[in-house]
């Protein structure tokens, strides 16, 4: 413990373990990991859910669930030993004082009954002897720093008056109140929209440099970590399998798990609509005694030795090591090649199959009357304003937009579940409202975002998948079951789960069941509403592969609602961008993604975080937050956030205009490209 050491390294963890006793055995949530964090640097911890990332962070501050047992050789933070600190010392001197923490869910991590000013000040007065006015001064200073306009008046606001992005900014300000030396951010942007995510990450980076903080960034998003972290630690089943400088790990991954994770990310290698590499299975629960490598069951290169012997730690250089037997060394290029070969076997000529329009949305508007309180006046909320879309047979049309932009209302209208005020939806030449339920169900089916709420927990998987047939009394019971089994095979669901309940399945399996239910009627159009955003990246890759395979096999047409632009890049033929109930840009994928015409599309593309180590988090250059749809701005709805807005934009709403085969709604569309780049 020399004084030289503590100047470079702020946190040194040796051999940290977390065990959680269960009824039958012990769950090893974290298994003897060692980590080091240098002053002023960011360490990114990546891994799938269940890999022990959050447990590690909680163990640092001893905030583990009561049943969990922590054991550590040493956790030394700036020379003080956290392993032997009492609960009182941790609470009064460390937590919130020298180590700040930001959680994933901004909606629930602020107390709704206190004003944010009170909550901010409390964090400071609790730990330090400061006057109320000093704390207030600091709170205003920090709220300004995190980019909240008019900070002094914000102090009196309550959490429900702020949007998700604003709340996360408040959380960051709160974590910074006591000038912590270390900030732990546990998935700080996962619940936020892409443009907000970029803003928040950008802000964190700026603040970190300004205050000279160190940071631990826990995330499952490799794009985020590639831009925001200096060092990276890949966790799998409670152990760090590979670590090193971000660029080194991401450019030359050595552990098969790291390689697999990277292959799963759409757009990492190769271009669109190829099969993604996928890691089969899910993270195993580490119970009982473990022999061999925890990844062996999912590893494509596993040899016998992996199942029996604990893999050795192989150091490449100072601070860069991985834990693997390396049974037969295969460079990442080779795995990429096999993925590519597989891709070549699936027909890629999707352009040939593009046929006539199968679904036409023509000038659809929809306004809800929302009443605040019992005697409040009804106010209009315009969810959709003159939306027109065409979906051609066999294509994948991606619908992109932030939460609150009217995507869900549009999909509900397309499925005939929401009656529009004006305009029409035509499916196969027939108005959707004139279709009897059974015919409609045979033509169009949805897949939802959250496989935990889209399957009825009281029904077995078999009942769920056969339900559409049962509702419309198609076939006998035996025929329905046989059909369900065929579909289960098609979506890659083992038939043994036929009589299982949804809570016995993993997230990926549940989503497969939901896909099976949607496909059993053999529909022509499938509405995929963020089908992978609730899933881990390796499972996302499996599902995206499956969806593309099924499209070819069953001749499907997808409307793919998503906010993940790398998924758009991977899946879509065409892209439609939605903002405040309007389609602001719609055209070919490559055209829209590489040469966006609308400033909003431009900002969206800028916010997309592809894996590119070394590059910084871009600032999307958008002013303010997503507006409340109850108070639509006049003129062009995007003008308050638009860097190019002028008098005309504020007063007149632009109409749709066709430029280079792309439909754009913007006064500046013709000149925006050059103006925004400069």
């Amino acid at each position: 413990m020399g004084s030289e050491m503590s100047t470079t390294s702020i946190l040194d963890i040796q051999n940290l373990s977390v065990d959680i006793p269960t009824d039958s055995s012990t769950l090893h949530a974290v298994r003897g990991i060692s980590l080091e964090l240098n002053r002023g640097e960011t360490l990114g911890i990546v891994g799938e859910s269940g890999s022990g990332k959050s447990m590690t962070a909680l163990a640092l501050m001893n905030l583990l669930p009561p049943a969990a047992k922590r054991s550590a050789g040493c956790i030394s933070f700036e020379g003080s030993d956290l392993t032997h600190a009492t609960e009182q010392e941790l609470a009064s001197k460390i937590r919130g004082q020298r180590i700040g923490m930001i959680f994933q869910e901004p909606m629930t991590s602020l107390n709704p009954v206190y004003s944010i000013g009170r909550q901010l000040k409390e964090t400071m007065t609790l730990h330090r002897k400061v006057s109320e006015s000093e704390a207030e001064k600091r709170a205003i200073y920090l709220l300004e720093k995190v980019g909240l306009p008019d900070p002094a008046s914000r102090l009196k606001q309550y959490p429900h008056e702020l949007s998700g992005g604003q709340r996360q900014r408040v959380m960051i300000a709160m974590a910074l109140m006591n000038e912590p030396e270390l900030l732990i951010a546990d998935e700080p942007t996962t619940a936020l929209d892409v443009t907000i995510q970029a803003q928040i990450l950008h802000l964190l980076r700026e603040l970190q440099q300004e205050f000279g903080m160190s940071m631990i960034l826990i995330t499952h998003d490799l794009g985020v970590v590639s831009r925001a972290a200096d060092h990276i630690a890949v966790m799998y089943a409670g152990d760090i399998v590979e670590t090193g400088r971000t660029a080194e790990v991401l450019e030359d991954p050595r552990h098969p798990y790291t390689q697999g994770l990277l292959e799963c990310v759409p757009g990492y290698r190769g271009t669109s609509q190829q099969r993604l590499g996928a890691i089969p299975g899910i993270v195993p629960a580490m119970t009982g005694t473990i022999s061999g490598c925890a990844f062996a069951s999912r590893c494509p290169r596993a040899a016998d030795i992996c199942k029996t012997d604990t893999p050795p730690t192989k150091a490449l250089q100072q601070g860069r090591y991985f834990v693997c037997h390396e049974p037969n060394i295969q460079t990442p290029e080779n795995t990429a090649n096999t993925a590519r070969e597989a891709a070549n076997q699936t027909p890629e000529d999707s352009a040939l199959k593009k046929g006539e329009p199968i679904l036409t949305v023509d000038g659809v508007s929809c306004t809800f009357m929302v009443r605040r309180g019992l005697f409040g006046k009804r106010k209009p909320l315009q969810a959709m304003d003159n939306v027109s879309l065409t979906l051609n047979k066999g294509e994948v049309l991606a619908l992109v937009g932030e939460s609150g932009c009217g995507k869900s209302t549009l999909t509900r209208t397309i499925m005939g579940l929401q009656k529009p005020d004006s305009g029409s939806v035509t499916l196969n030449g027939r108005r959707i409202e004139n279709l009897p339920p059974m015919e409609r169900a045979r033509m169009i089916q949805p897949i939802f975002q959250d496989p935990y709420s889209s399957l009825n927990p009281r029904k077995t998987i078999g009942e769920i998948i056969t339900k559409p047939l049962a509702v419309h009394r198609i076939g006998s019971r035996q025929e329905q079951h046989a059909q369900a089994r065929r579909i289960m095979e098609l979506v890659g669901l083992p038939t043994r789960v036929f009589n299982s309940y949804p809570d016995q399945l993993s997230g990926g399996q549940r989503q497969r069941a939901a896909i099976g239910r949607a496909l059993i009627m053999n529909p022509e159009v499938v509405i995929c509403d963020e089908p992978t955003s609730a899933l881990d990246v390796s499972v996302q890759a499996q599902i995206l592969n499956l969806l593309l395979d099924l499209r070819d096999e069953m001749d499907l047409t997808y409307l793919f609602v998503t906010h993940n632009l790398s998924v758009v890049q991977h899946m879509a033929d065409r892209v439609a961008v939605m903002y405040l109930g309007e389609i602001v840009e719609c055209g070919d994928r490559d055209q829209v993604m590489t040469d966006p015409k609308h400033p909003y599309t431009h900002a969206l593309m800028d916010s997309a975080l592809s894996i590119s180590p070394g590059e910084t988090v871009p600032d999307p250059g958008l002013a303010g937050d997503f507006p409340n749809p109850m108070n639509r701005p006049s003129g062009c709805p995007f003008h308050p956030r638009c860097p190019l807005a002028d008098q005309q934009c504020r007063e007149q709403a632009p109409g749709p205009e066709l430029i280079d085969n792309t439909l754009v709604q913007c006064w500046k569309a013709k000149t925006s490209g050059s103006q925004l780049k400069s």
Binding site: R412, Q449, P468, G492, N545, E553
Partner: protein, 311 residues
């Protein structure tokens, strides 16, 4: 077929897995529930007690040692056999009119079980139906149902019951219906709020997209998710209904007097509680055992029908 195989391989299923699993669907839901039921002690005990009680109630004329209506004034207020002065002739002693207490408890099981379970079931049917309608359809139907609840809560239910019994007449059927018709508010409130939450979930939207009617969704998708909560209220309401019947009987509006019921026995025994406490304790224990058995059964049914184990 090529692509299917590939899907299977990529998704982590090897070909051998697929063939092995070909005919192995796992147990059907009913079979699995029965299998779990066999190893669930609470369920077995609850069901056992209820069965024994039902047998006693059904075969009361053969099982009761005496005529429950036979008054024998010289032998009134005999204590049970284990208390000094008790006799083997009257195992649980006699009441203030010298009727055999054991026989009265056995006969009382008939009335009390019928009224308790019957009234709770009627309340459940009314409350759950209205709750589903209010929660799922919403709008003016919801407001109408809420108005009904307010009325029900505003009028003193005992007064209402008395008025109804007085108008319709006095019989077991009337008592069951009247108690049931005044005890549905708990069911309604719970069903309505749970339905409000459930109808926003995606599986309801999926059912709509399938072309299910609102009625089908409410009954087949939403209702199965409410079984737990309804079960809990049911076990509470059985006890409440039995005690309500006692109150009515005590006021002379429930079961016509010589017919034995546990509630009435407690009411009658109250006068002599200090010196002959068994008059209250014995029917009280019977009631307690009945409610416990229903509780155990309810919990058991919940455990057996729902699985929370991941595979």
């Amino acid at each position: 077929m090529m692509t299917t195989d590939q899907t299977m391989n990529k998704s982590g299923l090897t070909a051998t897995d697929a063939t092995q699993e070909e005919n192995n669907l796992g147990l059907s839901p009913t079979m699995a529930a029965l299998k779990r039921a066999r190893s669930h002690y609470g369920l077995k005990i609850g069901l056992g007690i209820l069965l024994v009680m039902a047998i006693f109630a059904l075969f009361a004329p053969w099982l009761a040692p005496h005529d429950p209506y036979m008054q024998n004034l010289p032998l009134r207020m005999l204590p049970p056999v284990w208390v000094e002065g008790g006799s083997w002739e009257y195992l649980l002693g006699t009441d203030h009119l010298g009727r055999d207490y054991l026989s009265r408890i056995i006969y009382g099981a008939r009335i009390s079980m019928t009224i308790g379970i019957g009234a709770a079931t009627i309340g459940m049917i009314i409350g759950v139906t209205l709750g589903l309608i209010a929660g799922y359809y919403g709008g003016w139907l919801d407001q109408a149902v809420n108005f009904l609840v307010t009325c029900q809560l505003a009028v003193p239910s005992l007064l209402l019951i008395m008025a109804l019994v007085f108008v319709i007449g006095q019989s077991i059927t009337v008592v069951i219906f009247v108690i049931g018709a005044t005890h549905w508010v708990f069911y309604l409130v719970v069903t309505r709020s749970a339905t409000l939450r459930l109808r926003e979930l995606d599986f309801v939207a999926a059912a709509q997209a399938m072309g299910c009617s609102k009625f089908q969704i409410a009954v087949k998708e939403v209702l199965p998710n409410l079984v737990n909560q309804i079960m809990v209220i049911f076990t509470l309401e059985v006890a409440v209904a039995i005690l309500n019947e006692a109150t009515l009987s005590f006021l002379g509006l429930g079961i016509p007097s010589p017919i034995p019921s546990w509630g009435l026995m407690i009411a009658e025994g109250k006068q002599a509680m200090f010196f002959q406490p068994w008059l209250v304790i014995l029917p009280g224990i019977s009631l307690f055992i009945l409610v416990i058995a229903i509780n155990l059964l309810g919990d058991g049914v919940r455990d057996v029908t729902v699985t929370n184990r991941r595979n």
